[in-house]
């Protein structure tokens, strides 16, 4: 079945009950215009499947989808506006003139294995950590990339600046490479230490683990999220060969986006991509002290709706008293991060709402287990990474 037919059949199951619209964070952030919400997206996707002419006018509606998949959790017919959006993005990206920022990022990934042209390793990285073990700690470079992404979104949140950036990138997409030199210094430092703690925690389980630091290629998650399917396949093939060349058997990931790519997306789409994959806290067993503190936990959507990884929450529960906001589990509320680079102000609105929900729980600290969530929610107040809490409470 071709993509258009699949889209028609998939969206044909919807009866417009609007349950999805009620939980869609972008519906609220985009001032309740239906086309910017889950129901509207499914409606438009169905329309596209019978009338492709409208495709040129709908880009923003689909690229604003967070792919948090909470719509699927509440849909009694099991439809996901996230999945429908990915299909539409695939059609858009293969046939239409795309957002120049997205284009430039994709070009960089394909050519340089990094959205900004090069990967930074953590400051504490030592080449001896590339030790030939078949168990690989793979961060996908996402921690340091957050510091570059923040810089980029700071610039394009200003409409004028965005227009200028687009004009420049249209002429020369490679200019995005400049961002490898611009970063939010504070965030970079924070991510550096978080990564150190993650590595430390991994070492409590796997003494002999291979880590590539600045030599790591990017995970390719953006290719998937932007709907660049063919590029994603090409990139996945590259990653498979790369891991094979290092004789890797097991991949330990440390964030939900990279984890989803390794655990689900590549194995489902790339032949021979069958490395064992686990999130770094899944096998964590060291003793922890219960400190009696109160924690509010923000569940990353990719863990609660896409993959169901609950090890971070369970570990946090063993350290302190954990509260969850009303929107939790399969109906968690996204941090806004996935649209940070395309719709910065709307992304911030979503982060602000979510941070408010967490703050209202009146706990001692707010915790999450995703660098994207962390860097976005942090704009509104203090938030810790689960690795920091574990590190402080591990009985050494």
């Amino acid at each position: 079945m071709n993509l258009i037919d699949t889209l028609r059949e998939y969206t044909g199951k919807c009866i417009n009950c609007s349950f999805c619209e009620a939980v869609c964070p972008t519906f609220q952030a985009f001032e309740y215009s239906s086309s910017y919400g889950a129901r509207g997206r499914i409606f438009l996707a169905r329309e596209i499947s019978v009338n492709k002419n409208i495709i040129n006018n709908v880009r923003d509606f689909f690229y604003s989808c967070l792919n948090c998949n909470v719509c699927e959790s509440v849909c009694p017919a099991g439809i996901s506006a996230g999945k429908a959006s990915l299909m539409v993005k695939r059609i858009i990206s293969s046939e239409n003139e795309m957002d120049y920022i997205v284009n430039a990022l994709v070009k960089m990934i394909m050519e340089n294995r990094s959205p900004v042209g090069k990967m930074d390793g953590p400051s504490w990285y030592d080449i001896s950590m590339k030790n030939g073990s078949d168990i690989l700690f793979y961060s996908g470079g996402i921690y340091s990339l957050m510091a570059h992404a923040k810089m980029l979104s700071n610039i394009i949140r200003n409409r004028k600046m965005k227009e200028i950036a687009e004009r420049i990138l249209k002429k020369n997409p490679d200019i995005i490479f400049l961002f490898s030199n611009f970063e939010d210094k504070g965030l970079m430092k924070r991510m550096d230490t978080i990564l150190y703690k993650i590595f430390y925690i991994i070492k409590t389980v796997y003494k002999d683990v291979n880590y590539l630091g600045y030599m790591e290629p990017y995970s390719g998650a953006l290719l998937y999220e932007f709907g660049y399917y063919d590029e994603m396949i090409e990139y996945g093939n590259f990653l498979r060969d790369f891991f094979n060349s290092l004789k890797i058997k097991k991949i330990i990931t440390s964030d939900p986006h990279t984890h989803e790519m390794m655990k689900k997306i590549y194995p489902e789409n790339i032949q021979g991509f069958n490395f064992e994959s686990e999130f770094y806290l899944d096998s964590f067993r060291a003793d922890l002290k219960n400190n009696g503190r109160k924690y509010a936990y923000h569940e990353p959507c990719h863990f609660s709706t896409h993959l169901r990884v609950d090890s971070p929450l369970n570990i946090l529960k063993s350290i302190g008293d954990v509260s969850l906001p009303a929107r939790n589990g399969r109906t968690t509320y996204c941090c806004g991060g996935p649209i940070e680079m395309l719709f910065p102000s709307k992304s911030e609105r979503i982060s602000e709402i979510r941070y408010g929900q967490l703050r209202d729980l009146e706990t001692d600290e707010i915790v999450t287990s995703c660098p994207v969530c962390l860097s976005n929610l942090e704009k509104y107040g203090k938030i810790r990474d689960i690795s920091e809490i574990i590190f402080e409470n591990i009985i050494h």
Partner: protein, 463 residues
Amino acid sequence: MDLVYALREIVGKEYVLDKYEEILPYSRDASIFEGKLPRAVVLPRTSQEISKILRFATENKIPVTVRGGGSSLVGGSVLLEDGIIISMARFDRILEINIENRYVVAEAGVKLDFLNDNLKKYNHFYPPDPASSITATVGGSINTNAGGLRTVMYGATKEWVLGMEVVLPTGEIIQLGGKVLKRALGYDLTSLFIGSEGTLGIITEAILKIAPLPESTGRILSYYEDIENAGRAVSLLKRKGYTPYIAEFMDRIAMDSITKVRGIKFPEKARYLILVDVASTKESLKRMMDEFENVIKETSPLTIKKTIDPVEMDEMYQARKGLYSSQLLERKSPEEYIIIGDVIVPASELPSALKEMDEKIRSSGFRATLFGHIGDGNIHANIFVNPKDRTMMENVFRLLFDLGLIALKHGGSVSSEHGIGLEKKDLIMEEMKFKNSMKNIEIMKNVKGILDPADIMNRGKLI
């Protein structure tokens, strides 16, 4: 003056949608009816803005349809003529929670689940609980007098509305009712707006009664081979003085669709299920559940299952709430839709009325499922249809008509909780004729004429 320009002058550019790709999703609600594309969708934020919009619409005779969650099952929130849709989505704030005086003031666009999430912190709730509560709004549910799962114990929406602010089609903003439990101030205009289906004015905020949450609840699932016995369970409970917190009914097709979507399994032999929730104090829950069970046993169920596990109970509760949409999986093709019958009979009539309806559906040849909020006598028939097949549609409306007549014959009503909208305009007439009350229609039309002199509000619906 250009319509879109005039609307933008009132609410600001951003809040008037007029591009094809933006207004397209507003051409449907959850019913089978396809509305006309609106000339514009307006998203006001204040009553004053609505007042200006409505005054402009009245002066220029522009048809207006109001939309809350857009979950109407009878075409209530789609537009039939060249006009505008006013979305109440930005009226999304809870303005006051007053536990001592047991009320909450909420704007019209507040979703019922959101309201209850907030009330839960105070151990209170707003009882009206349509299965669509995740998306149904305060304004929409008042305008359809929504019922739901808890109606058996708490009644429908009309029992819970103390007052409201309304913008009339001519632009006046009026306050109705108040924050007290009783008033004797002449005609009850608050009630006039309940169930008015957006034909008289726009509710912008409402004062709603709230109640303490029950201390504990338990569930009894009883399975039957025979529909009459299933129907007897609820009437017998009531006759013996018991009021369930929730009492729901579903047939085998409904159970199977839940199994498909949620993985919940039901006994193989069971053709009908009665789900009864018991609310009680912690100390007496077990005793009450035993007493309910003993009564239910008298109706010869195949098996009975009891649970007080909140996770298990919630799973089934959500499954029941999503039942309508789950049944879409039973469709033979994407062209097939579901049309929902919604009638009500007194509890004592349930066994015989259910049997007659079941037979009527079987003899009609339609594929259909029976389920409903049986605790209050509400029966839904979900019928699979292809809206493009005209003969089929004529036949299905004939069937719905016949089901309505069965309800009337048993002392019930043709419309229980979804409203009239576009779907039941014939049936409301039939009920009035049956009750020799055609004068009611004349009164309704006169009221509409006074409040909406230019006849702009939700034209073509209700009457």
